[in-house]
Symmetry: C2
Amino acid sequence: MRDFSNDHSALAINSATVKSLDLKGLIDACARAGIGAIAPWRDQVQAVGIPQAGRMIRDAGLKVTSLVRAGLFTAADAAGRKAAIDDNRRAIEEAVGIGAANLLLIAGGLPPGSKDIAGARQQVRDGLAALLPHARAARMPLALEPLHPMTAADRACVTTLGNANDLCEELGDGIGVAIDVYHVWWDPSLAREIARAGRRILGFHVCDWLVPTTDLLTDRGMMGDGIIDIKSIRRMVEDAGYDDPVDVEIFSANNWWKRDPDEVLRICVERFRSVV
Amino acid sequence: MRDFSNDHSALAINSATVKSLDLKGLIDACARAGIGAIAPWRDQVQAVGIPQAGRMIRDAGLKVTSLVRAGLFTAADAAGRKAAIDDNRRAIEEAVGIGAANLLLIAGGLPPGSKDIAGARQQVRDGLAALLPHARAARMPLALEPLHPMTAADRACVTTLGNANDLCEELGDGIGVAIDVYHVWWDPSLAREIARAGRRILGFHVCDWLVPTTDLLTDRGMMGDGIIDIKSIRRMVEDAGYDDPVDVEIFSANNWWKRDPDEVLRICVERFRSVV
């Protein structure tokens, strides 16, 4: 396992962790904190335009782990599903434009009015199959991130790493998985499914599960403040062959989003070295 | 599949659904609503004493699906784990005393200060193994209920039906599973694991998943108000051989717990006939 105790060169910051910053602010804050990689959200790079965003990122010498996020394939009708594919094609172009290593995807939840989660999963499978030729042509890997089951209804019907692995095996080249400890730590099949994912692991994300957790979306913790054994999961992921950056993604409406971004990044670096 | 459209004789009420009532109040309210089975919580029967609780329930002609709830095997030290076993032995006696068909168990979460979920699961396995001889001697089946992964840290490290099935297969006779749609509806392995559980299914619980869900514990919905395809899951459970009562268990701090219990039970009956 890599030794991060005196080295945070593998740390990447997902821009949602310091949500108040625009792309320029994020780039400057990462420079001040000695952070060499980012995972920006689409709205942030769209706001300055893709060519300009790409230039800013390259000029700063930053790696981009993922462009975050596309996917969201489920919809109530065929027109909605086509619109999702079209939007995902634009996301592939954006990811290429900013030099991202991959495009992060989440599945999407149940379409409005639907109770058919198996049908939603079929829509995700079909959406990925339709998108993959474009991703392959652009040489842009798709990183499918299973989300916590508590998001299954409104965000991501692909709820387990096993589910994501099944889809990847069916769909073939050009797609892999992103593993976020927050979404998978509870899974009794985790060790087996990480080993099965192997070289298909395209991203590894960290934060922490707080006890109690007061919100299903925006109450994630800083690494070390919760109950996830992050090092154990990182060991599994690295044993499977992963040696790319580790993204910190913390949605925290009542704590970290309220703090000074420089303080947040400083603590991310400290915790990355001590807890991750 | 059983036809409930004009028949709620299979409806059982978990006392947490009408939390304001004591045992006498629950029995009387069920009589007024024509409900023939209950699943009382332990504190409620302990409050009147087990022999008296048993008499009241028998005199009213009510079935008891489960005594709710015991388990909670995880603890920071051996003394704590022994105390849990002792308490579970008392729960078995209580379940026998009130004529319950089974004793409902939840696993327990991570011990205080622990990040070791595999270790917690081992504690649950060892606790069940220690308890089973007493359960068998008392002819009281143990119904292990996997809970939603969002409860893994503080309530139940057994997070999937597959996990519960594995434990049952390892431990042998005297233990089965209780399946609550709320806890399992998101699981891509659900159909397979329900079929695998087969005759081991000792209980089936219904409520609904609301969108949005605003609390991890006390924001469950009335059947039909959320996005769970309850009938499909009931079909799987009945195809596996289950033909016992269906428990309604709704934790709802901001809605159903604030309403008049007679109104709540009336709506439970309506929804049981139309949605379950």
